[in-house]
């Protein structure tokens, strides 16, 4: 009843099929099969799964690009089926896609960032302010007047984030945004996401890279359109049998830790990052040395 108890994103019994013309007696191929999920404001959630597990489909329900075949999706207490609310939903949930070129609309950086708020009818003075702020948030202020085709792939993705941020969304959804980037651009993008989350923006990202997922505060694991596992990364990746059954993997630092644990009893194999692994090794050695 009280609005405070409703989570920011509330998904109930979501079912979706791309095949709208299946006959009545056959079950259509569900891309999403009875998914229920709640996401609170300020969370950093990573959705992982093999190719074809339904990640992109799920994300497209979050801003109403897709509407459930069965079940409901509420964003900020608005139902995504409500045509009157589409604008509100899409300016609350900003979306960034995988292809750097096919989401840039304008030929100049600042004009692309302005595209979203222009569509919302934001008055001109505020437009300038929003463009400036959005570019600062991703660190591209200096490229304000640059033609968009002169940007590198990494810069284009940062631009795409800025163009979503200029609508002042409460939440940023990214569909494999770093997939086509080289390692350095990817790490810069992830750092940007981290600081955006620190500043209060909810971040939901789909990825098939385990090292990216390890950075999130909560992981949702999809397989064949269903949620098979969710929780803190340490918890999720410790379920190695499930992880391997659905053809995923654990982050490298954890793999190394697991190898070590198989030879050294008492070594905890739940290290997600290089930092954690190094600290675990040092701590272990110190304790062992002191223990003698």
């Amino acid at each position: 009843m009280g609005e405070k108890s409703t989570p920011f994103i509330h998904i109930r019994n979501l079912r979706y099929t791309y095949n709208q013309t299946a006959g009545n007696d056959e079950a259509p191929p569900w891309a999403l099969n009875n998914v229920s999920l709640d996401i609170e404001k300020g969370e950093y959630v990573a959705v992982i799964g093999a190719n074809g597990s339904g990640k992109s489909t799920l994300l497209r329900h979050l801003n109403g690009l897709l509407v459930p075949s069965e079940g409901d999706v509420w964003v900020n207490s608005w139902n995504t089926r409500d045509a009157q609310r589409v604008r509100d939903i899409r300016s609350t949930v900003g979306m960034v896609f995988q292809s750097p070129d096919a989401q840039i609309v304008a030929t100049v950086v600042e004009e692309d960032v302005a595209f979203g708020p222009e569509n919302l009818g934001v008055p001109r003075d505020e437009l300038h302010e929003r463009v400036k702020r959005a570019l600062e948030q991703v660190g591209l202020e200096e490229l304000r007047k640059r033609p968009t085709h002169y940007l590198s792939a990494g810069q284009k993705q940062l631009l795409a984030i800025a163009s979503a941020l200029s609508m002042r969304p409460a939440c940023l959804v990214l569909d494999e945004a770093a997939a086509s980037l080289d390692p350095l651009s990817r790490s810069r993008l992830l750092q940007t996401l981290w600081s955006l989350n620190q500043s209060g923006i909810t971040v939901i990202t789909a990825t098939h890279r385990m090292d990216e997922a390890a950075l999130a505060k909560r992981i949702v694991v999809l397989s064949d359109g269903k949620i098979v596992l969710q929780g803190h990364p340490k918890h999720v990746f410790s379920q190695t049998d499930i992880i391997h059954r659905i053809k995923l993997d654990v982050p490298e630092p954890m793999k190394i830790a697991q190898h070590i644990a198989s030879r050294v009893s008492g070594f905890r194999a739940d290290t997600l990052t290089v930092d954690e692994l190094v600290n675990a090794v040092l701590t272990f050695r110190r304790i062992r040395v002191e223990g003698c």
Binding site: R60, N63, L65, R87, R90, S91, G94, M95, F97, S99, D101, A102, Q103, I104, V105, A106, T107, V108, E110, E111, A114, F115, G116, P117, E118, N119, L120, G121, V122, P123, R124, L127, H128, V131, P147, T148, H149, A160, S163, A164, M167
Partner: protein, 295 residues
């Protein structure tokens, strides 16, 4: 010794180069340049006086000089067209029967006849070409596609009230132009991939159908890629609440400034002068004068 590379598409395409030098002409409103340019071209086509064309050319040359761009760059494109131009002019001057009626024959050989009328017509043809090409060069040096699109969109804006999709049109053209180099790069990549598997993109002289079939390994993937781009673009635009041109505000507003009025003035004067010269048959007077002096 360099050999021609079969697949380097990017190097072969010549688009009018935008050369930003910050000159006055660059700072003119895009609409000024569009309207003046269009007017000058129309006048150049309909005027039938060499003196008038000369006046127009001098005006364009003046414009080129103040752009601070090397003037000879404008004539590089003209140079490539020159051989075709000469052939056309020659045909006009020597082989079109209409100019032989009521005309004074200047020179004759076999069935080629040069009359005073055909000479004039040939010269007019070349003159018009020169004016138009240098005008286009002036335009493309000083106007980026972005500015051009803003100009077009602003000018179409009043039509929005008549339910004409002005913003949508400008946006579609803008995005299409933006994707030309992207698609060309992808075409190059696909051609390389297929060639690496032994594809031969029609270097032989086969009939049209066979040639077309050979290009399928290029056309089909390119088409699919274009559709994917279109789909992705549509999703991105929808996600940013694009719902057509109505109700939108604009970051970039175009304003007419002092230099636009000056440019219009110069343009109008030149056009008026050209029209007068054409109407009052200045050519005839000069021609008669030259003939009198010569004889």
């Amino acid at each position: 010794m360099a050999q021609r590379n079969e697949f380097e598409l990017m190097g072969k395409v010549v688009i009018g180069q935008y050369i930003p030098t910050g000159s006055v002409v660059h700072r003119l409103d895009a609409r000024t340049k569009l309207m003046l340019g269009a007017l000058l071209i129309v006048v150049a086509i309909f005027v039938s006086s060499i003196a008038a064309l000369l006046l127009l050319f001098v005006t364009v040359l003046f414009g080129l000089c103040i752009t601070k761009v090397e003037v000879k760059l404008a004539f590089i494109s003209l140079r490539r067209v020159l051989p075709y131009l000469f052939v056309l002019a020659a045909i006009q001057m020597l082989a079109v029967p209409q100019f032989r009626l009521d005309a004074k024959v200047i020179w004759e050989w076999r069935f080629f006849v040069l009359t005073d009328r055909s000479l004039l017509s040939g010269l007019l043809l070349m003159g018009r070409f020169v004016v138009i090409v240098s005008l286009l060069a002036l335009f493309s040096f000083t106007t980026s596609t972005t500015e051009l699109m803003h100009g077009v969109e602003h000018m179409l804006q009043p039509l929005q009230r008549l339910r004409f999709p002005a913003h949508e049109t400008a946006l579609v053209i803008n995005i299409a132009i933006r994707f030309v180099p992207i698609l060309m790069g992808e075409a190059e990549r696909i051609m390389r991939a297929q060639a690496s598997r032994g594809a031969d993109f029609g270097t032989g002289r086969h009939n049209f159908i066979r040639r077309f079939m050979r290009m399928l390994p290029l056309f089909v993937p390119l088409f699919i890629l274009s559709l994917q781009h279109a789909q992705n673009m549509a999703e991105a635009m929808e996600s940013r609440c694009y719902m057509g041109g109505s109700g939108r505000t604009r970051l970039i507003q175009l304003h007419y400034e002092k230099q636009d009025f000056v440019a219009f003035l110069i343009g109008i004067v030149a056009i008026a002068g050209a029209l007068c010269m054409s109407l009052f048959k200045v050519d005839q007077t000069v021609w008669k004068g030259v003939m009198t002096i010569l004889s």
